[in-house]
């Protein structure tokens, strides 16, 4: 993003584009809900979907009350955190402008990023988290981890982008590495699912996974294209790079699968596309098309191998938040230091385009800082919630499925025998018929 560069003045074209992008990015969270929901077993599908949906509500409210101000308010401490001047969006009139768009719209666009990042973490703890504890986590994590990292990277006074000079166009650090490191931390706090490595925990609905992946891809145009904060050539380049990397990510994953397992799978196609899209998120505003194609391919190939780590190392990151988001996020962020071109960035170039090792070094520092902070802070927060509220679901609930235990609902009713009796409704009817003769 290029917040600091723009001379504030409203542009209706830029505003219209960002309004559309905000809606596109908000769609990504329900899309993620389907993507994740299809990947878990039938008995906890609704709970998985609900973890994303509740994040839309909890993170949005926190963001509007305090998150925006702390992330994008005037810097108060060496680029580490913003101020409290805009709590509850105080002092921001409808005609206030950030860059070329209304500040309220910029805040809304950023809100959708915060929502998605938090929802992404839930994939690491599928099938075994207490729902109430998750809701508390979404609120606290937004304030303690997302907000500072967003300030470091995206705010005009942030230390990573503005001061250090590392590049992250649309959130490779803020969204992808942040959620991946947090997912790893929570997976370690909660421990593996009962039956991990012994039971088949197959995705219960792959068409749902692919529908979710398709909608994510659609929303990603708003995510990356919108991060140009204007309807301009940079947005077009970012959008094109996004498409390129999604495609080569898909291809790379399928090539690995075909060679290693003998089959190109649908889950592999969805996962590879997401890996490519993740990797191009930080880099779509700084690399050319060839760079984008190679970054997507690298992410597809490496992530296809990386998802096996959880079995070898023994941590149960259920839906591969680490193997896809952390790994592809690191690939995309680091490769900026290799493929960045001055034509795109208007300044720093990467190793391949004559920029030397300087940018690569900055990217590595940024990755280590965000990854390290996110992992450590999330681990501490997860442990605290585990101690105070209990984060892990009861054994019985985990075995029978969280849908019934937590939500008193089930995702599907295929059998002919599952009808039961409608207690509440029957009670109402009995009550009214008892009284009717007396009327």
């Amino acid at each position: 993003m290029h917040l600091a560069d723009a001379t504030p003045a409203l542009d209706t074209g830029d505003t219209a584009w960002l309004l559309a992008c905000t809606a596109l990015v908000l769609l990504m969270t329900p899309a993620l809900a389907l993507f994740y929901g299809g990947m878990v077993r039938t008995k906890s599908a609704l709970n998985m979907i609900m973890m994303s949906f509740v994040s839309i509500a909890s993170v949005s409210v926190v963001w509007l009350l305090a998150g925006y101000s702390l992330a994008f308010g005037e810097d108060t401490a060496l680029g580490l955190i913003g101020g409290l001047d805009h709590l509850g969006m105080a002092g921001i009139a409808p005609d206030a402008v950030t860059g070329h768009v209304p500040t309220l719209l910029f805040a809304a666009f950023q809100l959708t990023f915060a929502v998605l990042t938090v929802a992404l973490i839930s994939g690491a703890i599928a099938d075994r988290a207490r729902f109430g504890a998750w809701v508390v986590f979404t609120v606290l994590w937004t304030l303690l981890v997302y907000v500072p990292v967003a300030h470091w990277v995206f705010a005009p006074g942030g230390w990573i982008l503005a001061k250090l000079g590392a590049l992250d166009f649309a959130g490779g650090l803020v969204v992808e590495i942040n959620c991946g490191a947090a997912g790893l931390a929570l997976a370690l706090v909660l421990g593996p699912r009962l039956g991990f490595k012994r039971e088949a925990m197959r995705p219960h609905n792959l068409p749902l996974v692919l529908l979710g992946a398709g909608l994510l891809w659609f929303g990603w145009f708003g995510f990356n294209g919108g991060s140009a904060l204007g309807a301009n050539g940079l947005a077009a380049a970012a959008l094109l790079n996004t498409q390129a990397a999604g495609c080569t990510g898909l291809a790379g994953w399928l090539l690995v699968e075909k060679r290693r397992d003998g089959h190109a799978t649908t889950l592999g196609a969805a996962s590879g596309a997401v890996a490519g899209l993740v990797a191009i998120t930080p880099s779509c505003g700084s690399v050319d098309l060839v760079g984008a194609l190679l970054i997507g391919l690298a992410a597809g190939v490496v992530c296809a191998y990386a998802v096996g780590w959880k079995f070898r190392l023994g941590f149960d990151d259920s839906l591969d938040v680490v193997g896809v988001h952390l790994v592809a996020g690191v690939i995309g962020t680091v490769l900026i230091g290799v493929f960045a071109t001055a034509v795109m960035t208007g300044g720093p170039a990467g190793l391949l385009h004559g920029g030397g090792l300087a940018q690569l070094g900055k990217q590595l520092v940024a990755v280590a800082a965000v990854g390290g902070y996110s992992f450590a802070a999330t681990y501490g927060l997860g442990r605290a919630i585990e101690r105070v509220l209990g984060f892990r679901a009861e054994r019985e609930h985990e075995l029978t499925g969280l849908d019934l235990a937590v939500h008193a609902e089930s995702a599907y009713d295929h059998g002919v025998l599952g009808h039961g009796s409608a207690t509440a409704h029957a009670a109402v009817l009995a009550h009214s018929s008892d009284r009717s003769p007396a009327v």
Partner: protein
């Protein structure tokens, strides 16, 4: 009377049905089933993780016939369900003490 139970590959259901109809068997009950014999299951791969699926989908076909027809019915089911490959299934026969047709109350062979 005899109860003949056959557990066969699902795609063979139509051929078994036709063979039984050709023999004059009036009715049958079909249940979706799963299980394994010597064949065991198959392997599925999700994101590179292999899952061994032990239980293979089958259909379970049940018919009640008179004693003298039982052998012919078993032969017809076996002939129709056979592919010659592993996992073709099993057919077994057990004696039936009595049968009642729910609609009419008829008992014994008339109810079959």
């Amino acid at each position: 009377m005899k109860l003949i139970t056959a557990v066969v590959k699902p795609f063979k259901l139509d051929e078994v049905k036709e063979a039984l109809q050709a023999l004059g068997v009036h009715g049958l009950t079909v249940t979706e089933a799963s299980g394994y014999g010597r064949q065991h299951g198959h392997t599925e791969v999700y994101r590179g993780a292999e899952y061994r699926i032990d239980l293979v989908p089958k259909v379970r076909i049940e018919v009640v016939v008179e004693d003298e027809d039982a052998e012919a019915v078993v032969d017809a089911v076996v002939a129709a369900a056979r592919t010659g490959k592993i996992g073709d299934g099993k057919v077994w026969t057990v004696p039936v003490d009595g049968v009642v047709r729910v609609r009419t109350g008829e008992r014994g062979p008339d109810a079959v």
